[in-house]
């Protein structure tokens, strides 16, 4: 049985249908990368998995438990086994890096202060952020915030890690750093991951399978080599990064010719 099972998931906000009959299965230890244009429901998918949103139809089950049917206490127990890394890190800005990473440990584990110190240091080392314990989130760069967010997410030793656009808005070098950190976490912790990204290079590095969401539906979910040669024109257009094709609902502005040709 799949560790994460998304069955016929549909979600709409008012008249706007964001997800429509999405089906995805993620096996234990597997790394799924979800691609898709902006506004195609990738984050909504993660929020349904975390139980932050309730599906309109269908369901999400994690480890055999249907998320929308759990009591709040049971939902919190399931959430302790999932680490969520937010797009903008969502660090608690009134706390230091140390307090952010130690937050879950303090609330859910009966650790002594020295055990907490050791675990926080271990988590920060895994993401290359040792020595920043006393800094506040406002003192960190975007990439550093994301990595502290990763450290906070792994502190409770989750079985599943969800990454919501971890490289958006970062420079190419930092994008590569974040990609490497995700790979390290995957290999060292052996966790099941779902990563939402627009960065195709890191997507092909991280993924065991790649899914593409298009207009609320999952139109492909394959291992990277097969995904690359998928004949679907939407997949090929997305891989090319070309504005012309069936991907956009509204036609893009016409392509300007280079100056030499015009002359």
């Amino acid at each position: 049985m799949a560790l994460i099972d998304v069955v016929n998931l549909s979600k709409a906000f008012g008249p706007k249908v964001v997800l429509s009959n999405v089906n995805l299965q993620v096996e234990e230890g597997e790394s799924l990368v979800v691609l898709g244009g902006s506004g195609t429901g990738k984050t909504v998918l993660l929020r349904n998995i975390m139980g932050l949103l309730t599906p309109d139809a269908g369901h999400v089950s994690v480890d055999g438990k249907i998320i929308a049917q759990l009591s709040r206490e049971d939902l919190f127990k399931v959430r302790q086994s999932i680490g969520m890394c937010f797009q903008m890190a969502a660090l608690f800005d009134s706390m230091t890096v140390f307090e952010n990473v130690a937050f879950g440990l303090r609330r859910h584990r009966d650790h002594t202060e020295s055990e907490i110190n050791a675990r926080v240091e271990e988590c920060l080392s895994l993401v290359g952020m040792r020595g920043t314990e006393h800094l506040k989130p406002a003192e960190l760069s975007g990439g550093m915030k994301r990595r502290v967010g990763f450290a906070r997410a792994i502190a409770l030793k989750p079985k599943i890690l969800l990454f919501d656009e971890p490289t958006t808005g970062l420079d190419p070098v930092m994008t590569d750093v974040i990609g490497r950190v995700i790979l390290d976490l995957k290999h060292e912790l052996g966790v099941t991951t779902i990563t939402i990204t627009h960065d195709l290079t890191s997507a092909f590095e991280i993924a065991d399978r790649i899914a593409l969401l298009f207009r609320g539906e999952c139109i492909a979910c394959q291992p990277p080599p097969e995904f690359k040669v998928n004949p679907n024109p939407v997949v090929q257009q997305f891989l090319r990064g070309d504005a012309d094709g069936p991907f956009l609902q509204d036609p893009p502005p016409p392509k300007r010719k280079p100056k030499e040709t015009q002359a």
Partner: protein, 258 residues
């Protein structure tokens, strides 16, 4: 035309019921979460500091100003029919029964309620509240409860302090300026008062404290729409909690004075 009117009326009514229901549910969850573990003493102490200690200057200044103005008005009014001695008695009655709890409540709704709405609103739009949920932490328990406890305890204490400051505000005007005897002022300030009046003042302050925290936290928790939403939350919180403080004051006065 008629249908459109009833459509608007109906949807406004439904929206109002929805909002009221949501506030009631959030408040109920906050009360239910008070005794739930884990108990976050550090967070509670931080709220005591923010609500109580940091509000002392505001309470001192407003209580002093209001009690002094009231004393000036009373001295002037009672002088019209040679009853200056009554000024200190009415001053005591007004400060203890109404001015101290209401002024403290209104000032704290501006200082504390708005800060709570802004803080939680910012946390909401920056996904920090979602992060709490993902870390298996109930935001109502973690955010509402310490603020609710801090205001419910600190607003009555600040009201008691406001009564004390109000006494000296009246003293400054009636004894220092109007030339009344200090002994007579000290004695007559309490003449019309009974212990029940202090109890009523503290009960009012307790209720006002809960209104401030619940409205402030709820407005912040339900913030939507980025910077604009965060900007609106404190204003809306102050207006709503001030209104409810005044409404609650009327009903508490009617109820407790019987």
């Amino acid at each position: 035309m008629v249908l459109a009117f009833f459509d608007t009326l109906g949807s406004t009514f439904l929206r109002a019921m929805d909002t009221t229901g949501d506030f009631a549910v959030c408040s109920g969850r906050a009360f239910a979460a008070i005794f739930r573990r884990p108990f976050d003493g550090k967070n509670l102490m931080r709220q005591f500091q923010a609500v109580g200690i940091n509000s002392i200057p505001v309470v001192v200044l407003t209580s002093l100003a209001v009690s002094m103005v009231f004393a000036v008005q009373l001295a002037f009014g009672f002088r019209q029919f040679q009853a200056e001695g009554l000024a200190s008695q009415v001053e005591g009655l007004a400060i203890v029964r109404e001015l101290a709890p209401v002024i403290t409540g209104l000032m704290l709704s501006g200082r504390i309620g708005s800060a709570m709405a802004a803080e939680l609103g910012t946390m909401q739009v920056t996904e920090q509240i979602d992060a709490l949920e993902c870390l298996a932490t109930d935001p109502i328990h973690y955010l509402f409860v310490p603020r609710l406890l801090a205001t419910a305890i600190m607003v009555p204490l600040l009201t008691a302090f406001s009564i004390y400051v109000g006494y000296w505000g009246g003293y400054l005007i009636l004894v220092g300026v109007e030339g009344q005897s200090a002994f007579v002022y000290g004695h007559q300030f309490y003449t019309l008062l009974a212990f029940r009046d202090v109890r009523i003042a503290l009960i009012k302050a307790f209720v006002f404290g809960m209104i401030i925290a619940l409205v402030g936290c709820w407005k912040g928790y339900r913030t939507q729409g980025g910077a604009e939403g965060v900007g609106n939350a404190p204003t809306s919180s102050v207006v709503t909690s001030s209104l409810w403080i005044l409404i609650a004051d009327f009903f508490l006065t009617k109820l407790l004075l019987v």
